[in-house]
Assembly symmetry: C2
Homo-oligomer: 158 residues x 2
Amino acid sequence: MSDRELKFMQQALDLARQGMNNGIGGPFGCIIVKGDTIVGRGCNSVSSTNDPTAHAEVVAIRDACKNLQTFQLTDCEIYTSCEPCPMCMGAIYWARPKKVYFGASRHDAAAAGFDDSLIYKELTASLHDRIIEMVCLGSEKANEVFSEWKEKPDKIDY
Amino acid sequence: MSDRELKFMQQALDLARQGMNNGIGGPFGCIIVKGDTIVGRGCNSVSSTNDPTAHAEVVAIRDACKNLQTFQLTDCEIYTSCEPCPMCMGAIYWARPKKVYFGASRHDAAAAGFDDSLIYKELTASLHDRIIEMVCLGSEKANEVFSEWKEKPDKIDY
């Protein structure tokens, strides 16, 4: 572990602590680095912004993408104070950074009251066995929209 | 399947089509219903807003929570034109609605060029085996922040 990585991780931890102490949300912080520049920052802001998706990683990804004017974090590193939850992990895969560094593990988070093991379990359960009922209402009309997309000449792939 | 559910699904499909045709993003739409009122709307806005997290479900959840001034979608139903990806599934679990209705399946989405099977696979792979490298930088300092959270007298649980 080089000083460089530890220095960036400390900044993610500082954001986590500041967010917590300023009543912005839970004790989680994240920064995004490109080369040696911090291009995005975020702390958990769920309770202060009434946004259940405002986890530190999602906030930082949105901030970095806004700053870089792109929806792809190519060649970027993510430093997050805690192992990302499934939602944030999904966001990370869609943003496609090159590497993720984290501090606390998901087990540490669970011990602090932030248990996402349920979500990991549900994602691999069949739709019929999930706690939140998931019902297919028929795919025919939805697939018509997909067909129109496939034939759209000016679409932007992402 | 009652007319009620099919009517709401049609509105999600209309949003998907409008978003696609207006160049806002991919062919996905979502509405959130409480009782018989639509409380949130979203269409995929990834490419037009440079936000990789702006999937229809995330946009609709953020909109509904803003309108209802809460970070919990208790008693709400989600109607989405396509089976949610892992990121959106995570967002749904954090928002805790009572039910999710979807149109196209994840396999339909893959056939249309939106393949999230990689993300499902990665979420169950060990950290060492993932395509995006995930590195723990040590949990000690991160756990200090969690300890401070646990002792914080005025914290808002979410």
